[in-house]
Amino acid sequence: MALAKALAFKAISLMIVLIGVLFLTVIILGMTGVSDKILRSILNEQLRGIRQQLATRIKDPNELNKALEQIKQELIKAYGLDKPWYARMHKMVLRILRLDLGYARTIQTFSGSKKISDILKERIPNTILLMTTALLINYGIGLLIGVKLAAKSGTLLDRAVSLYSAVSYAIPTWWLGMLMILVFHYYLHLFPAGGMYSVPPPQGTFLRFLDLLKHVTLPVITLIIALSGSWIYTVRAILISIAQEDFVTVARAKGLPENLVLRRYIIRPAAPPLLTNIILGLAGSMGGAILTETVFGWPGMGTLYYQAIMSVDESLILALTYVFTLIYILARFLLEILYVILDPRVRY
């Protein structure tokens, strides 16, 4: 029961964040007049479709225009474009909550759809593929090296890694990505510069997988280098502090084998604070992934962001802001559930 209550509390506070972001964006769009612009572009897109339909039935151009004008007026009313922005704010919020995100200006899906929800459906899995691959590898590497370093605290290697952590915090991920392309693509010709598959993609599942692997390598390495520094440092610091706890000495006194002590009495109790750090760093890691995508032209949300900015597409930016926040909050909530599983102290 208490468990459900704790999770419900988390869920509510995360929902407030989502709604808060939504309202903030909608209010800013309304106040700056951008929401009018977005609605008009949706309306025009719809009118174009209607025009094509009507054109098959009504042959007289005057008749056609008249009919269209009538429909247009109806639509303006329906969208609330005849009213000030705050009067239709709730409609806009509801529309976004239903993921009815409108149409993109120039970007389309492979099949040619300009519907933003279609575009996102195509892009999000790619982002999640890149992000989860990079983050999971990063967390794994950080744990391995952090554990090793914790045992060697104070050595030269340990201090070198601390310095690396400080510098890696200061490296912009996206710049590192550019550097990687310059070195490994331009000079060494080892990896493709960007994208997800070669053009044209190779035939056969296995070859396609290899091709994907080749394309994913550089962005993943970039992300890992940029993120691992502070993560290794965190793992090391947390493990060192736990290794000094009394219960670790007790475990040794109990005659438990050393690897069991490490696993069950150092790493396992470190899981909740480590997870807390992952949760705190989640937004930053996701941001890093978004920027890395842009550099490598990875066809995900990050590249979409860049394309939206370059094509000055307000609807798409709004949709991305909302969907990114939504994904972040879902990921956050999954981690919170994991936290509750890992840390008995919050369960009751």
Partner: protein, 476 residues
Amino acid sequence: MGVVREAFEEFWQSGVSKAGVVLLAILTAISIYVVLTMPMDFGTRYWNNPLYWADNPKAVPPAWVNHFSKVKHTVHTILIASQPVGVSYKTGVYLKYYNMTYNYVYDDFPSFITLKISNVTFYSEPPVIQLYITRPDGFIIPLYTLSIPSQPSGLPPYRVFSKGSKRILLSGDLYVARALSNFLYEKYGVFLGTTNVMQIGHEQIVFGDMVNKTYFKPLKGKYIISIVLLTHDLRDSIGRVEFVIGGRVYGLMGTDTLGRDLAKGLLFGFPVALLIGFVTSIFTTIIGASLGIISGYVGGKIDELIQRFADIVNNVPLLPILIFLCFIFKGNLWVMIAALIAFGWPGLTIVVRSMVLQIKSAQFVEAAISLGASKWRIMARHIFPNVAPFILAQLIFFTPSAILSEAALSFLGLGDPRIPTWGQILEYGFRNQAIFLGYWWWILPPGILIIISAVTFVFIALGLEPVVNPRLRRWR
């Protein structure tokens, strides 16, 4: 004072602190130099004004690569003459010579050649200006003739090209091509039409020696570039002639595809980065710390309200919101800084609050309360001094994240076009395929400068940590 001194000595012990302070001193010195020597509207007046950079070679590496390369690349050179070296008279016409000598010692050809004429003064008929180049092999190529358009109205002396100089891009000019075609026939007996000459490139023919009638190799030696003013009136003159030999390498940091001197843009980035870092971190810290102190000390409903709000703001994913705001308010640096502040304070508020709660229960505060000290006095005299070292460390720690955030947003094309930053230089490079064309001088330096400026503050923050922490631990 003793405490401060002691704290400083402790801080100064570690290597990272020293490195951080030295770096900060360098960054500050460069920034002061830039503020004193470069105009504040550098961005609009020069950086984003392509005309200003028109005489520069496009996308060439820094000049110092010649030290590391076997092939010596043509260094960008501007020859200037403003006084005639001699006058001669021939059949009713005076010839005024403006000569420039150029020692050509490179293994490749210039990227372009340009002639610039300014301030031509005449009294009666408009004069004619001719350009001759005397090559090391003794050949003289009459490269170009410029007739001054018919005289303007009014009384003499008449002046032309006085507002802006007349700029003639000799490379690719059809007239020059004809002259070169003649030259090739005369010297090598090779007949090449203007189209072929254009394909080869004027610079190659002017500064080259034809080998086997097939290709050109650089002809090293002394070139004399003469500008001749043909006139009927001895008082007529040219104010200034410039002959630009477009380099294959340029300056300290090379140029971008617009010919902009990257050294200048990078230099201007120093004060901007520090400004962004400091303004953001100072305001973030002030807001975060005061809300934290109020929240922790006043408690009750206000505490609850501040903490709930801080929690919500703290959980907002920063990047999409920043992109959204900067996109809607079209590349405005102040909006960007305001957004960074607006979403940056909660972390500090939450931590400071918990520290204040600990200090509040310390004996000396209870003693002050029982002595009847007012709330504000206790906050200012007892609580603030105890959290101040931590707040200072946070101030330092916020700085790099602001610099990095600005760079990231600039990279996404959301920078403020009025104020060039390192991130914007990188974005322009990225958009112009610099990484796929191997323009390393365009990509490496801005990134390295971003890292150095961020690392400066990370180092100082790391050095402050042991100084600040034991002071905190007392209350734990």
